[in-house]
Point group: C2
Chain length 398, copies 2
């Protein structure tokens, strides 16, 4: 592949092999679709002279499907590599520090899976100490549930500590108030571009035809609310107050060098969950609390692949829509330093972590800022950056 004429810093993660999509607005300008290159955002409507990008969301482009995604990617690479285009294209580059970034797409349905064996095992041990940590269905299907699409927010949106009903096991009765166990979940999200008709299942083979790209997700969780409400219908208000999304959607086309096999699956999954290609992904996540690295969850350890999640989610004929988001569930690896939530890092508060400033945390304090970032191997030794999803905790409303 040729070189870009854009000045991309060494190790940026946003070189010509990445080109993730987002929605930005230049100062005083309207929202539009851009791709990131180095420390710039390229205005696609201006560069490609196509009104589908003069939009406040990626959805119209996502709906156009795989052939069009590939064509547009090729045209962007040409615009950023051909010297003859430089004078025309350069004015469409905006320094990323000077623009505002928005939620990159309108979320249709949001599904959250539970695909890390370590995370499911850790939570099973804490929530159901008297039983086997993994429930009997866990190794047979990717367990998941629907979350609230309307509260998926852009990175940087302030996260107000939720109030809710909770009852600790030794409380006589439930009470209402500020969550005392506000947590994060470091996850990876998959963005559906092309929909599917009601009644049709989407197979693991069709993953690439439907899924456009990958982003980072912080699925904020109020553990005390969740623990009291979640039987028998699953998490609800413990999760629905906010879910933060990274500003950049890395296209699947940028991730071929990151594809790996999932860990061995035993028992062998049923036919509809088998894969002929590897869709495990070697993303290395990093979780920072007030700037300090507190965990490094390895996505490559996830038991279920996103192609298996997609096949399962549609096995009953459920339609896909452009803008559907499905997330992996918390990414946790086998080493304690690889756990993607505070409830695991502090073992439900029993083992607080000590930060560099000497303070300790069982869960999040008001004013805390959480930053999740990731990168993955790219072609020819390059790195594919995912940017960051950031959120700062504001005090509860009451």
């Amino acid at each position: 592949m040729s070189q870009t004429w854009v000045d991309v810093p060494a190790g940026s993660g946003f070189g010509l092999r990445n080109l993730p999509y987002g929605v930005f607005a230049p100062q005083g300008g309207p929202r539009r679709v851009g791709v990131r290159i180095g420390d710039y955002v390229l205005d696609l409507a201006a560069t490609l002279d196509d009104p589908v990008f003069a939009s406040g969301s990626l959805n119209a482009f996502l709906a156009q499907g795989r052939a069009r995604w590939t064509e547009v990617r090729n045209r962007i690479v040409m615009a950023l590599t051909e010297d003859a285009q430089r004078s025309r294209v350069e004015p469409a580059l905006h320094p990323v520090d000077g623009v505002r970034l928005y939620l990159p797409f309108e979320v249709a349905d949001y599904v959250d899976f539970y695909a890390s064996e370590q995370h499911a095992t850790n939570l099973g041990r804490m929530f159901r100490p008297d039983a086997a940590p993994l429930l009997p269905n866990w190794k047979h299907l990717p367990v998941g549930y629907h979350g609230r699409a309307g509260t998926v927010v852009a990175s940087g949106t302030a996260i107000r500590r939720p109030c809710g009903q909770r009852k600790a096991p030794d409380d006589a009765a439930p009470s209402f108030g500020r969550s005392r166990k506000l947590d994060i979940e470091a996850e990876v999200g998959f963005v559906v571009g092309a929909g599917s008709p009601l009644g049709d299942a989407v197979t693991t083979k069709d993953f690439r035809e439907h899924v456009f790209g990958v982003c980072l997700v912080n699925d904020w969780s109020a553990r005390d609310i969740q623990a009291w409400e979640y039987v028998p219908l699953g998490p609800f208000l413990g999760k629905s107050f906010a879910t933060s999304l990274s500003p950049w959607i890395v296209p699947l086309d940028a991730l071929d060098a990151a594809r790996v096999a999932t860990p061995a699956q035993d028992p062998a999954p049923l036919e509809y969950l088998r894969e002929s290609e590897d869709w495990g992904l070697d993303l290395q996540l990093r979780v920072r609390l007030n700037g300090e690295l507190i965990a490094q969850p390895p996505y490559a350890q996830m038991y279920w692949s996103p192609a298996q999640m997609l096949a399962h989610m549609t096995a009953n004929g459920a339609a896909l829509r452009t803008g559907d988001l499905f997330a992996s569930g918390t990414v946790s690896g086998p080493d304690p330093s690889q756990r993607g939530s505070l409830i695991e890092l502090t073992w439900n508060g029993a083992e607080p972590i000590t930060l560099a400033d000497g303070t300790t945390r069982k869960f999040l304090d008001d004013g805390d800022t959480v930053t999740i970032s990731a990168d993955a191997p790219g072609p020819e030794g390059s790195r594919i950056g995912f940017g960051e999803v950031i959120g700062r905790i504001e005090p509860a409303a009451r």
Copy 2:
């Protein structure tokens, strides 16, 4: 209230006191918003000369809020009662049998509650025979979860029997195939018109400012898929293949005479769930299988009111959006003839029901048609009709 010049059959349920909203298309014409009067649909864009109704969904009108909903209702009543308007308005009436009806609004988030004490008790007995039927949280909060908004479909949409993974307790391993326990859930749905900002709770007092109206819901359920998947994160593929909605949204303004107190709530709910007004609703549901009446669930028996559901759903600061739909969960009364699902009517297949043609049912057969209808008391002895939500089961795809 004066009389309408439209010929409304006695006992129609669609008199001047009802005026439910839907989306229709006259033969060969585009979709538009209408209200039902007698056996006609009134084209609102033509009658009120307002482009917000020349739309394939109610959403733009729903977003305008309570004051506007009241103003439009008053204008419709004037159009249908003033003789001077008759010659102008009459051409905008279309016989309901000659138009096609559509999903009346674009569903934003779909939440399903579990608000019938009888239903929760019955299912608890069947799914957890060794434990107390009601879980400890049930009388403290309206238990609910998010469903799949993208598979909420219009009444009349064919329902394909889903396939999925299931494992009966005595099976050695799970298998994949057609659901053998396809069921209905007769529910009542509440349609959010005016949204709310992220971070703000909506109180029970504000119910009327946010909720526009009421419809009927059939939350189709594959019990075998559900039973295997639902721990610990709740129902997913057992529900997400389809949820059918009635074509008419009855405005809250039509339901004042139907408002009743909920059954006594013991223990007293926490402060944020208390009500200063009654929002129980005296809807009488009827469930028909292939035309034969099989159940008459009484909505007035529901433990939690829709105002309590709304207050709970937003207590954590979750935003509301125009088009949010929340449903009550299966409506079941104390009498066996009042159960709103086949799993209850046949006690999970142990007591099949016999139909008039001599056939029996544990769950739904291919070709079965289910029709749920309802009405409620209106002012001055009138009845408020909700119409019907209908679905016919098609054979599985594989």
